[in-house]
Symmetry: C2
Subunit: 275 residues, 2 copies
């Protein structure tokens, strides 16, 4: 376990708690590289104060710095993603240098975010890249230009369980409990609803999306709401839904069924979940 913190209060608490338990908690200092969430900004004098308390406190050990360029999710072009990657790298490397110049250890210099991991042109000074969605990709990343739809390696298998022909709806057994409530593509150029509908081979079918969901029901329709040929999708038809956000969708399930050639399941990978 490595702790992540961005303030003197937390550094003191960690060190006191560690001392009380007879342990040294390893800790990273969170750096705010993009004014997006939490962390301290490069140049903030509190960096050295937090670093010194973690390093010299009896129950803590300073292990380095980390950041997550969450604002890369709002970049509008590949050039902007490249610039964000460099901004992310420069932020943590600058902070690592400041710590070292103050005779504080900084063995870990960690960056994150799938868009910046994909488009970074340099990683000088970085020791760790934490990119979560990277291994699967998803519709949000495709909408951002980070991958193509074909690159998406995660899907939810679902069955057609009924039709509402007069509404041009196919009803499935995968609602938001299976797909997650993530509607991350809603503000992108192409709104993918609750996911893109594919055949068993993972090929998107026409312009079908999961247009809406209930808790345990998915509603598949054409993106434009126009009629579709229900006879192509009889009850029992198996479909695959590509997710808006791989993290959110995967978290709704206890394990991964690993397939190379459908329908053979080559492995079952349990998921790590919880806190």
């Amino acid at each position: 376990m490595t702790l992540l913190l961005d303030n003197v209060e937390a550094a003191e608490m960690v060190s006191e708690k560690g001392q009380a338990l007879g342990m040294q908690f390893p800790a990273l200092i969170e750096i705010d590289c993009d004014n997006h969430r939490s962390g301290i900004r490069p140049g903030d004098p509190r960096l050295l104060d937090i670093g010194a308390r973690l390093h010299r406190g009896p129950g803590s050990a300073l292990r380095g710095v980390m950041t997550h360029a969450g604002d890369s999710y709002n970049c509008g072009s590949i050039d902007a993603l490249r610039a964000m990657a460099e901004r992310e790298r420069a932020a943590v490397v600058e902070c690592a240098q400041a710590l070292k110049q103050a005779d504080l250890p900084c063995p870990i210099v960690s960056v994150g975010s799938t868009p910046t991991a994909t488009f970074a042109e340099r990683m000088d000074g970085v020791t760790e890249v934490r990119a979560g969605v990277y291994m699967f990709f998803d519709l949000f990343m495709a909408g951002l230009g980070v991958c193509s739809i074909d690159d998406i390696a995660l899907s939810v298998l679902t069955s057609v369980i009924g039709h509402q022909a007069e509404r041009n709806w196919i009803i499935t057994d995968a609602g938001w409990m299976a797909l997650s409530r993530d509607r991350g593509t809603a503000k992108q150029r192409v709104d993918q609803g609750y996911g893109v509908v594919c055949d068993l081979g993972g090929r998107p079918i026409d312009d079908l999306i999961v247009a809406d969901t209930n808790q345990e029901h998915g509603i598949i329709a054409k993106r434009n709401g126009k009629p579709l040929d229900m006879s192509r999708f009889p009850v029992g038809t198996l479909l695959r839904i590509l997710p808006n956000h791989a993290c959110a969708t995967a978290a709704q399930h206890p394990q991964y069924q690993v397939i190379a050639h459908d329908p053979v399941v080559e492995a079952v990978w349990p998921r790590f979940s919880g806190w």
Copy 2:
């Protein structure tokens, strides 16, 4: 396991599959009481056809009818909720009578939805009420007038881990992975963000809500974005977040910690999850 279906194709598939396995699958016919999702409407001649196939098919057993008045979530008044409850009841009772008149069995007559379960004035002919949120309630139900904030029995315990004082943000360790992505109150009169912030006793604090979330970070702010006194919420402060939607939030966790008088955990209830 009782199956739920609303079409002849599915009834035939179930019966064939049951026959192949040497089993009789019990099945309910889904009734659409409110034109909201799936099911067949009262008066639809397919009811008797589906019922007869389930009853006479070798691998299936007709157990009755069920509905879910999902459209009750859109009711604007208590009178509208009462009317919806009666519409829900009448729909399944009418279908049950039609099945019985055709000499088909209908031992189960099942209704659902927390708003209608709360405000129903009659349950004649109903044998089962499935109301999920009912046992916990949540902010959506409070917004609908079904319960008060004080009635909500489910919360997520979180710690303050930092501040962004210049933005009037308190940062916590409960992001949408802990709270769920459900933003069901966004379209209600009072938008509760990702949840209402309470003290350990479950009492709402001023007008604090979880204004935004990242995957593992919650951002607490005043609803109006105005300044708040950070010194009241030092790092390490424990808070409780009331959920927009109890189902979605609970599903993010493997178990319930049952408390009557904080902080004593009187029981741990594992959750049923998955499909």
